[in-house]
Amino acid sequence: MVVRIDPAPFDAGAELNRFSARAAGAGAVVSFSGIVRGNGGLSAMEIEHYPGMTEKAVAAILAEAAERWGLLDALVIHRHGRLTPGETIMMVATAAAHRAEAFAAAEFLMDYLKSRAPFWKKEYGPGGATWVAARDDDETALSRWLPEAAFPQDR
């Protein structure tokens, strides 16, 4: 398991290759990369986080995903600080024996990182700077992972 919270840019392709090479026995590797979009005239994004809690929260989310889907390995890299359109904000990768588990775990990680890891985005655009509001959608996305809910991996 790798957690890296770092302002520095990273090479998603190189990370994916390293991750896949290390995940011995995996038949399926899923990756997600989040990229700054320049829509609405956005010129930059600034990501604030809570040092200490971030690493702890992300590691807990990773451990839960690994346990729940029997992952062979998982990775979260998340940048903070100032980013401009086209830059990669973060990535997750999951390795499992089969594809259903790798996909479900990657979606779970993204849903939890969105709303349960202490990051906050501020967007700089033509109208000035605004804090990105959490979306109701993101809370709805979380509810599908509750133990009582029907699990996508059971479909």
């Binding site: 604030e48 809570y50 809690m53 998340h78 973060m90 890891a117 202490p118 990051f119 804090w131």
Partner: protein
């Protein structure tokens, strides 16, 4: 008791500082919020709508009615927007 308070995102901006140390006898997060809000308008403004706020006690998410006994670090922030 001495608490380390941390503020993030617009909570930090409204209160005007990222962290501070406070002496308090508040038993719960809600009592602490009431105490801070009574101090100055900028606190009252930051804590005006608790539904728009989240709190973490010693780096774990908590509810506003959680007790403060044994806690060292209290962080206030808006809903997270990672990923």
């Amino acid at each position: 008791m001495t608490l380390e308070l941390l503020y993030f995102a617009w909570v930090r901006e409204r209160i005007g500082l990222p962290r501070e140390r406070v002496e308090t006898r508040a038993a719960t997060v809600a009592e602490l919020v009431t105490e801070l809000s009574a101090r100055e308008a900028r606190y009252a403004l930051a804590f005006a709508d608790l539904r728009a706020l989240r709190v973490a006690l010693d780096q774990d998410l908590a509810e506003f009615d959680a007790p403060l006994a044994g806690v060292r670090e209290v962080a206030f922030f808006p809903p997270m927007t990672g990923g």
